[in-house]
Symmetry: C2
Subunit: 531 residues, 2 copies
């Protein structure tokens, strides 16, 4: 197995790919989204001589680099001439040569790991080197969408055993950048997602950083949810930081709340996500590999992992959550990462606001010890922060929560948050006058009753239809939570939108399913867990 | 479940897709190979207003038609202007309007069957209506490559039970054209493939048609092999026939040997094959559905199915072949198709020539009762034809072979073949002077011995490297078969190519692996079967 990007001629087997032709490269300004596409004119001599077809994969070499690309055949000389090779934006950038550069073009050898992929499709267990080869080919964009999807689906459900999940995670770390903070205790927290609101990271990070722990938190943007931590933090501060700035901020303030996309951590994961999302695939093995590879690559040594359980959460039952916890624990141990997995109440959104501005408002109210702060967001954040504080060998078991509460109530958490915001580059935000989207409507209770259920997915859907996260001030503001008593005609929640069409979509969807269930006292679904 | 292509506005749920904008359609001369691609300029008002992204799916409506397409974002006004919607060749053709036509563009609803697809990915058993919806969406090109691949991989191996294979086959028939020959006995034969040479159809069809049976044989071109029946027949006659011509020829001559691509039989199958091939997926369920749906759609009532077994064949062991046979039998019965499955010797190529011209030569030699005719091709074809003749209620069980031999030896099979060739449009071909490619080399025995093994896959690979089937006269001509005695230095086979680079590729590959094994007498792998 070779690890070099460029095999020497003797390494490249000749048949099927030995013939090399040269064409002038041209940037074709088409964004094909992570798939390299090469545009060849139908009358191009190379196209005909090599027996390429539409969807053939070709190898393009220039200046010591090589990329694979899928052929699209073109009949328009305006797009690509007969002696040219057109490359889509991604492919052109990846090859990194100037337009007009003479590149070598040949029928591509299939990616090295194709055999391993076919064995996984056939149901075999893969070895460590198989998963290394697959992940490297994926990170180097050598897989077509067909091959990527095949890998994801073949590894779905329980098709990966726990050793394979470790091999996959380990390979994902190995293919990207890996940060080293040169400290023995680097903490992080992560939630597997699925609960609207739930912006605990923005409270946990300032609390534990104020305690002095190193917490370089990088987050994703929303993919299918109405707001990710990065989207919400972006209401308050700049989150797209060059790696050097991020490292300086963490050194100065012991923490950050940044978008993780710039750091090239576990790059294969980003490629895999591009096919997992449209298929709604979120298998245990892939979830564990995705999360743990990113954390280890980010240099974390200790991780607190939050698995919310509820009827409309990602994990629906306690036994499922426990199985998932054991898989996290097994793989983390093999990777040398200390992990503490907590199973939390996922029956309803955490906090009141859903959408970047509304969630930022809730977070700032908690930090300000404002009486309007959502109690559940405050409590959960303090508990999570307390568990992380107990990673500190000087903190006695059971003391974490009280320390966290003291840091919050004393204003030290707010001071730390303000310092981090200033360091990242602050934006104007006033939690008493958040810049909400101008249009709104309220959804009213149709009768008296007790709130007995809130559908996480439907509430998230309404917030997205209203425009979140793209419209920062759009979203849903919940006015009642589980167990609250409501009277007929009272507003259950308020929906904010910037455009009348968005407002209308959200209104129609809320009329079909408001996402709220009212019942008699005691009818609410029982609380699964308390940690 | 609606079967109309165009839902009325009330059927289309509003959220996520209700907003409709209009753009002038433009043909972008890019061949994206069965995937509809829409090119939108980054500064297009619709692109920005609708929140489309690269890879978003949009629905394009014009003139009562609608298609789905994947968005590629363009930054070049020469490809697509801000008020235009570019469509790839396939998409443009499918929509069927003139350039400049104002089309309606909206965020696409996901295909109706997405829920069923997700359930299959999650490992659930699908119902009849689920598979109907999936197959309809596939045939209408509503699936992206990601979704197609996910379906194929999720149905791989034993993930489809036999009921589901029937539902799939039945749905594949229902979505395409279905021929009706208005006769009670319409016969066909099919081989699951994997054996080079093996052009039995070109002998079986004239024999059984000469007997008076109706045998409207349509075949595929080679996809991964050095020649399909359509490629080989094309050496002798025109094979791309409009459906009306094909029907007339079958009426006049009781048979044909045509390419099946024009008839729109089981169109979903062609779409599925486009992702199965690059993944080398050939699972039992998909194979059965693919073959039986095509046969039933072609109007066959009786099918003889050939499963060759051998170490380098598709099916490697007799138990595997028997399992596959039972699946074919179960599904065929549910579809009302009479099937006779034969398990045959797949240890080596059938006939001597591999490649269109060489295979046509062997076929014509057999028909001419020429002493140079390959014995194995003749014998297998007679046996298969005999089994089909026994579908005739007037033929006594066991008499088929003798009748077939009589039809062949009397010259009636050749006369029928000439009639079919003339009807389809004949091409000049002389079996004594076949138009072989001009370059050649021989592979010599390195020592004395008995031919103890021939690697089907390697021999097929050599023929393809030499240029077959694209170069009709390219290929491999085998000079010895299993059990033959060879002397050191004697040529085992001859390779023909039209281009020196092709010849060189084939030569290098043959030097690494000649595909022949020599041993002591009796060392050849035992013959699995004799039917």
């Amino acid at each position: 197995m070779t690890t070099s990007l460029i095999p020497t001629p003797s390494q490249a087997p000749p048949e099927g790919g030995a013939s090399v032709s040269r064409l002038a490269v041209r940037r074709v300004a088409i964004d094909t989204w992570r798939e390299n596409v090469a545009y060849l004119h139908r009358d191009c001599a190379v196209y005909r001589a090599e027996g390429f077809q539409a969807l053939s994969k070709i190898e393009v070499r220039a200046n010591g680099r090589r990329i694979l690309a899928t052929v699209n055949v073109v009949d328009d000389l305006g797009i690509v001439a007969c002696d040219e090779l057109g490359l889509s934006e991604d492919a052109f950038a990846l090859l990194g040569v100037e337009a007009g550069y003479k590149v070598a073009v040949a029928q591509a050898e299939p990616p090295e790991s194709m055999g391993a992929l076919f064995r996984k499709i056939a149901g075999e267990r893969l070895r460590r080197e198989d998963l290394r080869a697959i992940v490297r080919d994926i990170a180097e964009h050598r897989y077509s969408k067909i091959e990527l999807t095949a890998f994801v689906v073949a590894c779905n459900r329980d098709e990966l055993d726990r050793e394979e999940v470790f091999f996959l995670s380990d390979a994902m770390v190995a293919t990207g950048q890996r940060l080293d903070w040169h400290e023995g205790l680097v903490v992080d927290k992560h939630c597997i997602g699925g609960i609207p609101g739930n912006r605990t990271s923005m409270l946990v990070v300032p609390i534990v950083a104020a305690h002095g722990m190193l917490c370089p938190k990088t987050s994703s943007r929303a993919i299918t949810s109405p707001a990710g931590t990065a989207d919400t933090m972006e209401v308050l501060a700049n989150v797209e930081l060059p790696l050097q700035d991020l490292q300086r901020i963490v050194r100065d303030h012991r923490g950050c709340l940044a978008w993780g996309g710039t750091a090239q951590l576990s790059p294969a994961d980003d490629v895999l996500i591009s096919v997992e999302r449209p298929l709604s695939i979120d298998s245990p093995g892939q979830m564990v590999a995705s999360i743990l590879s990113k954390k280890v690559a980010a240099g974390s040594t200790h991780l607190l992992l939050d698995i919310p359980v509820g009827a409309t959460a990602k994990v629906r039952t306690i036994p499922d959550a426990q199985r998932l916890r054991k898989l996290f624990e097994f793989v983390a141990k093999r990777m040398g990462l200390t992990i503490d997995v907590v199973i939390t109440d996922g029956r309803q959104p955490i906090g009141n606001g859903i959408g970047p501005v509304l969630e930022a408002r809730d977070v700032m109210w908690v930090l300000a010890n404002d009486p309007r702060a959502p109690h559940d967001l405050r409590q959960k954040s303090l508990r999570l922060a307390g568990r992380i504080l107990e990673f500190d060998p000087d903190v006695r078991g059971g003391d974490g929560y009280a320390i966290a509460r003291d840091i919050l109530e004393s204003g030290r958490a707010m001071a730390k948050m303000r310092a981090i915001i200033d360091a990242q580059g602050h934006k104007p935000f006033d939690p008493d006058h958040p810049a909400l989207a101008p249009l709104s409507f309220e959804v009213l209770a149709k009768r008296d009753g007790i709130v007995s259920g809130i559908d996480n997915q439907q509430v998230a859907r309404l917030a997205r239809l209203a425009g979140a996260p793209k419209v920062q001030g759009a979203g849903v503001d919940l006015l009642f939570k589980l167990g609250d008593t409501v009277k007929e005609g009272q507003p259950l929640y308020r929906v904010y939108a910037a455009y009348s069409s968005d407002l209308e979509f959200a209104r129609q969807a809320s009329e079909r399913n408001a996402g709220y269930y009212l019942g008699e006292a005691g009818a609410e679904t029982r609380q699964f867990v308390e940690f």
